[in-house]
């Protein structure tokens, strides 16, 4: 069971989609029930992963290496590995190979949770082409899960591209007035990035062959050869990957597809888009760009540019967000700002920043996912997202106003809610590398309060001035149910994030060690100065070498 849990999680939504094919399209409620049950099942089958992963969070995982003419497992990073390299399409060296570490584990749990939440939220919002909608949604779900699980580059790319199509259709068919523009922009923009990435992947693939004589897309095998590529080639490969991932994140200045896609997408599409799809970019950076090209990302110029773009994204996204007149666009630009924090955490390249970044990715999925649900609820009732159309909504929808307040606070990083933990950790990590980076990024924290509170004031406070808003009904139980898991997660991460940090500890340290390998190991370094612990004599004794590091050497 444990050996194939990933495959089960991966294909549950797809099986559901196939099942839906056999339901007549007229019986809409049956389709809704089946889709919801499948999505819930998708979430439930992923739950056993939690205890299973938890007990081995500090254990070493495995990696595949090609030795003496065969593939063997060695201690490495990945757990719950399913499949063997090069066995799917042996002629080109592609394998059906799944596996996760702490980072992908968290993202997978986020995906299954948000998948369920967004399908639940579509119940009344989608009235046309119901069957196709749910089918595509479930296909999308499998595509996203595949991206986070694939340990084979070919498989990864298949999922990466495959998930574009359903998202394109979700925006293009069930979207708003400018849906075609948005859908095509989304598709072309993302495709542009992935084409260059494909070239880079092929380079790595042939490079691996020229070094070892083996054709393979197996990720762990490529991890061995790619970092040795000379800088003058590696920089171009990195840039190709960068473009692919930066568009997906999206990093400034590749972000303008995002507001359009969000504004036009149906609510559930926005939730998934912000909650999960954007994380593929950041995940790509962590999983591929960093370990493949350590010499490039450690290059101070490249790193400076990456950090610079992140910080510009943080402040710029917030500023643009402040001036939006459309609620959904406002939330979309706030995503640019929040994702700026995530990429900042990645490129500060230390354990604290990186774990903060992953945590913030989860947080952003929860908070911004909830924000899109929130906007969607008003939109469904009034069919407008103009801020000026609202005012005094707390008078008519008090429960809704309360939930919104909590989610806004979570999004702006109030302590004891999730957003704070991520931002704090990222800023701490950034500060340790460079004081200026943290100093500038903190501005984003201030602006976040400004644009969210101002939005809240204009929509919820005051008296109801627009007669159309007088009869708005408060949340239905189903709508409340969509928020419950998100609220629970928000408070959980805010109050007790330790489990998350522990899950991330091993992969994050491993990646930082891989990237900074040329430098003396941060963890194992013997303090040259008197350590803080010695001086204060209150904290427990000094640090040990992490398990992962032990396993690797």
């Amino acid at each position: 069971m444990q050996n194939h849990i990933l495959s089960i999680i991966l294909f549950t939504p797809l099986v559901g989609a196939i099942l839906l094919l056999f339901v007549p399209k007229e019986s809409k409620d049956a389709i809704r029930w089946i889709a919801n049950l499948v999505a819930l099942a998708g979430f439930i089958v992923s739950l056993p992963l939690v205890p299973w992963f938890w007990v081995q969070r500090f254990e070493p995982g495995v990696k595949f290496v090609f030795e003496a003419g065969q593939w063997v497992q060695r201690p490495g990073m990945f757990k719950f590995v399913d499949g063997i390299p090069n066995t799917w399409i042996p002629s080109i060296g592609a394998g059906y190979l799944l596996g996760i570490d702490g980072i992908s584990f968290l993202l997978i749990m986020l995906t299954t949770l948000l998948g369920w939440v967004s399908i639940l939220s579509s119940w009344t919002a989608i009235q046309e082409r119901v069957k196709e909608y749910y089918i595509w949604f479930l296909v999308l779900q499998t595509g996203m899960l595949g991206v986070f699980m694939a340990l084979d580059f070919f498989l990864f790319f298949v999922f990466w591209e495959a998930m574009l199509v359903p998202m394109y259709l979700l925006i293009g068919i069930w979207g708003g007035p400018r849906k075609l523009y948005a859908a095509i922009k989304f598709f072309l923009y993302t495709l542009l990035g992935s084409v260059l990435m494909l070239l880079a992947i092929l380079f790595l693939y042939f490079n691996h062959h020229s070094v070892t004589g083996v054709y393979t897309f197996c990720l762990t095998a490529l991890y061995e050869t790619a970092p040795k590529i000379p800088f003058q080639y590696a920089i171009w490969l990195f840039l190709a990957f960068f473009l692919g991932f930066a568009i997906k994140v999206p990093m400034f200045p590749f972000h303008t597809w995002l507001p359009d896609a969000h504004v036009e997408a149906p609510t559930a599409g926005s939730v998934i888009l912000a909650g999960v799809l954007l994380k593929m970019g950041t995940y790509g950076f962590i999983r591929f760009a960093l370990p493949f090209f350590p010499s490039v990302v450690m290059n101070s110029k490249v790193r400076g540019w990456m950090i610079g773009l992140s910080i510009v994204g943080i402040i710029y996204g917030a500023l643009v967000s402040l001036m939006q007149k459309d609620m959904k666009k406002l939330v979309a630009y706030s995503s640019v700002s929040h994702l700026g924090f995530c990429t900042l955490g990645i490129f500060v390249l230390n354990s604290v920043g990186l774990s903060g970044s992953v945590l913030q990715q989860i947080n952003h999925g929860i908070s911004t996912g909830a924000l899109f649900l929130i906007v969607g609820i008003l939109y469904e009732r009034r069919h407008t997202r103009e801020i000026a159309e609202y005012g005094g909504i707390s008078n008519v929808m008090p429960v809704y106003a309360t939930i919104t307040m909590i989610m806004f606070l979570s999004s702006m990083g109030l302590p004891l809610l999730n957003g704070f933990v991520g931002e704090f950790t990222i800023l701490q990590g950034a500060f340790m590398e460079n004081r200026l980076w943290a100093g500038l990024s903190v501005i984003g924290v201030i602006l976040a309060a400004a644009y969210l509170l101002w939005l809240y004031q204009r929509v919820f406070f005051g008296t109801v001035t627009n007669p159309k808003n007088e009869k708005l009904t408060d949340l239905t139980p189903r709508e409340v149910l969509t928020f419950v898991p998100l609220l629970i997660m928000a408070f959980w991460i805010g109050l007790y994030p330790k489990p998350f940090f522990q899950i991330l500890e091993q992969p994050v340290n491993q990646i930082v060690q891989d990237v900074r390998g040329s430098e003396p190991n941060v963890m194992a370094k013997t303090p040259t100065h008197k350590s803080v612990d010695e001086i204060t004599q209150t904290s427990p004794p000094a640090v040990e070498v992490p398990v992962a590091a032990k396993g690797k050497k």
């Binding site: 303008t256 302590p415 000094a542 040990e544």
Partner: protein, 739 residues
């Protein structure tokens, strides 16, 4: 150790109250709401008293160490594998505990926050009795108590920050309690965002500390700071403390971040008393006092604190001189008094600053609650120009407020006298030279304080009644649930000063002694660097100093003078009375009445809410610029790229249809067809003709071989002629047959 072992219950009890209101408050009776929420705070108060009592015992046995209790690891991981490197490359653990902490400093805060908080909760039962959203109000109040107590009891900077932001949130929620009013929600936003600016400073300060000291924990940081590991004047410590002080400026409403506090008066009056007078705004003082070990290592920061404090004190007091809204006067008075506290901290008199926080909590809470009682009696009227002669009908309110006024004005022997005098004396004695200027500012502020407070008293309770008949008819004393707390606080305002009676007046300065474990070592560090401050630290030996008595009499005299001036000016105030300043220097009066136009200036320059001519500056200006840049330049580039692609595609289509397909493909076909027409002429399908042509050809070839070109030509011509004739003949015959 019963109370101390469960010290985490103190913040958690109000948290439970808030949670209860959140989930079921809507369905609860008002009495049930008050029972839960007020009950939670009462129990918290009892628990706090028990804890402090047990702590004093415990501390005596443990060398006056702080009592710590760690519940769990909050941020980071306790495995020891999630680390960062400090400034000198030492690995340090990224870990912040959810831990609580009790020492004399937090004890002081704990007692007055729970005590005053409890009284204000009781007061609110009466004050809010007729308001909507009763459960919401009490839920927020309890949430505030939770945050404030977390702030006080946290054992590290991160937990303190939880409370720090938490009180900011509650302040936001409570200022915006009457959210239908635009002014209220504006004020709420302003409070939160200005506080956020301070919080950003706090965050950076906290990071600097973690980077430099390798821990968030107060005990670690203080131990390191006191170990002599850092030099006095260390630039990083200076930066850290300055960042922290920015945080303190936000929370405690100091220049230039004070602007939110006067607007915060939009909230219900008990809120102003609890949050914006007695407790939350002293958080900055608490934080600086808590970080005293670091601050004394940074003389520049200390100087900044002192100067900002003194300037804020006199600046706010001057605005308070002419305000007409009873709550605004008190708000500016609060800002001004907070300035005193920072002045004390800045000159190294930490205990004096804390002492003033403590006494201020009583009399300022009392003043606000009294003002609330007045507003209650006046049916919501807050403008003092429409009050007057209330003393007869609101006796309790009048007398208790009078006591508070005596206390804040610094009249002997009320609480404010001792604490304010201690600060002024320390400012005088700590260092010579320019520091005397700070003292001068302080003493002028003392005079202003006395004046505006008695102005408030005379305008409200004396003079001629200036309200409308309807309002006058309804004037009544408030219910006992409101006057009760007033009386208790009045007793506090009289007695609180006795905790810190200086040696020069025959007291024993108990509070300072109690706080000694927190601050004592600082006097030493300071003294090593500044001999003058050593003198201040050792003032206990020289408490017979005649200077001290002289200064005491001077400040007392100025306070009485302020009282007298107010009495002369306002005791007979009737409808349409004229402010003497307005009569004397009208422009100055207008400027001060409009609060030096600071809000307007901020709106023009920093927020951009107002346009400067056609230009919008500030954050909103930047936002507009960014939006323009985004839609025009960045998205313009993207759409431009799309447009160019489409243009290329269109050109390609033209090329494709006209050149490739037209000229290339179809052109070839046309040429071929033309050629085929020519060829067709030769092919009309008669075998005999072909045979003839072949024969002719053969003959021709033969001729050519033989050099008979002429013959060849004749042959060709003859053949063509014959052929054409034959063809025409056949066509003619065919047409005949068909015809």
């Amino acid at each position: 150790m019963f109370f101390l072992d469960y010290i985490w219950l103190i913040p958690l009890l109000p948290a439970f109250g808030a949670a209860a209101m959140f989930f079921v408050g809507r369905k609860m009776q008002k009495s049930a709401v008050s029972a839960v929420c007020v009950g939670a705070v009462v129990v918290a108060f009892v628990w706090a008293c028990g804890s402090v009592w047990q702590y004093t015992d415990w501390a005596a046995r443990h060398g006056h160490e702080p009592f710590q209790q760690i519940l769990y690891t909050w941020l980071g991981s306790d495995t020891g594998h999630l680390n960062y490197t400090t400034y000198n490359g030492t690995p340090a653990r990224f870990q912040a505990d959810a831990g609580f902490f009790l020492d004399p400093l937090s004890s002081v805060w704990l007692l007055f926050v729970t005590g005053v908080g409890m009284l204000i909760h009781i007061y609110s039962i009466g004050y809010m009795a007729h308001e909507g959203g009763y459960y919401r109000f009490f839920g927020y109040l309890n949430l505030f108590m939770f945050s404030m107590l977390t702030l006080i009891l946290g054992n590290n900077y991160a937990v303190m920050f939880v409370g720090w932001e938490g009180v900011g949130l509650c302040s936001y929620l409570l200022i915006g309690f009457y959210f239908h009013r635009k002014s209220a929600s504006d004020a709420a936003n302003k409070a939160f965002i200005v506080n956020r600016i301070g919080d950003a400073g706090f965050l950076l300060g906290m990071f600097t500390i973690a980077w430099y000291c390798g821990s968030f924990r107060f005990t670690d940081v203080n131990a390191l700071a006191r170990s002599g590991h850092f030099q006095v004047g260390d630039p990083i410590i200076t930066a850290a403390t300055l960042c922290l002080f920015i945080g303190a400026c936000g929370k405690s409403a100091q220049l230039p971040l004070y602007v939110w506090l006067p607007d915060a008066m939009e909230g219900p009056t008990p809120v102003s008393a609890l949050i914006h007078a007695a407790t939350m705004v002293t958080a900055g003082v608490y934080m600086v006092a808590r970080s005293n070990a670091l601050f004394v290592l940074a003389p520049t920061s200390m100087k900044t604190v002192a100067i900002v404090g003194a300037l804020t004190a006199i600046f706010a007091a001057s605005i308070g001189l002419v305000q007409n809204d009873i709550k605004r006067v008190l708000a500016y008075s609060t800002v001004s008094q907070l300035g005193y506290m920072f002045l004390a901290l800045g000159v190294g008199a930490f205990a004096a600053g804390v002492f003033h926080v403590f006494t201020h909590a009583f009399f300022k809470a009392l003043l606000f609650l009294g003002a609330g009682s007045v507003i209650h009696a006046m049916s919501g009227e807050q403008d003092m120009r429409n009050m007057g002669d209330l003393h007869g009908r609101t006796r309790v309110t009048h007398w208790t407020m009078f006591i508070a006024t005596l206390a804040i004005a610094g009249i002997f022997p009320f609480a404010g006298f001792f604490s304010k005098d201690e600060i002024l004396w320390q400012a005088w004695a700590s260092e010579g030279g320019a520091y005397r200027l700070l003292w001068l500012i302080g003493i002028i502020t003392a005079f202003m304080t006395a004046f505006y407070m008695f102005r408030l008293m005379f305008l409200t309770f004396h003079g001629q009644p200036r309200m409308g008949h309807e309002v006058e008819h309804h004037i009544h004393e408030s219910p006992p649930s409101m006057t009760g707390p007033l009386v208790v606080l009045a007793i506090g305002s009289v007695l609180a000063g006795l905790l810190g009676v200086p040696h020069s007046l025959g007291g024993s300065n108990r509070l300072e002694k109690f706080l000694e474990p927190v601050f004592a070592r600082e006097a030493h560090v300071l003294g090593a660097e500044h001999p003058a401050q050593l003198a201040a630290g050792a003032k206990e030996q020289e408490h017979t100093n005649p200077e001290e008595y002289l200064l005491m009499f001077l400040s007392l005299g100025l306070a009485v003078a302020g009282w007298g001036l107010a009495w002369r000016t306002y005791r007979h105030a009737d409808k349409g009375y004229v402010e003497p300043l307005a009569a004397a220097v009208p422009p100055l009066y207008t400027v001060i009445l409009n609060k030096y136009y600071v809000d307007e200036g901020y709106d023009y320059i920093f927020t951009g809410r107002r346009k400067l001519g056609p230009v919008r500056l500030g954050v909103m200006g930047l936002g507009e610029g960014s939006s323009w840049f985004d839609s025009r330049v960045i998205d313009g580039t993207v759409n431009g790229a799309g447009w160019i692609t489409r243009l290329t595609a269109k050109l390609s289509i033209l090329w494709d249809t006209w050149v490739i397909d037209g000229l290339g493909v179809n052109g070839t076909a046309i040429v071929a067809r033309l050629l085929s027409y020519a060829a067709k002429l030769l092919q009309w399908g008669l075998v005999q003709w072909y045979a003839l042509v072949m024969v002719l050809g053969l003959v021709g070839l033969l001729c050519a071989q033989l050099g008979l070109l002429l013959w060849f030509a004749v042959w060709i011509a003859a053949t063509l002629f014959l052929g054409i004739v034959y063809l025409l003949a056949q066509r003619y015959l065919e047409s005949r047959v068909r015809g």
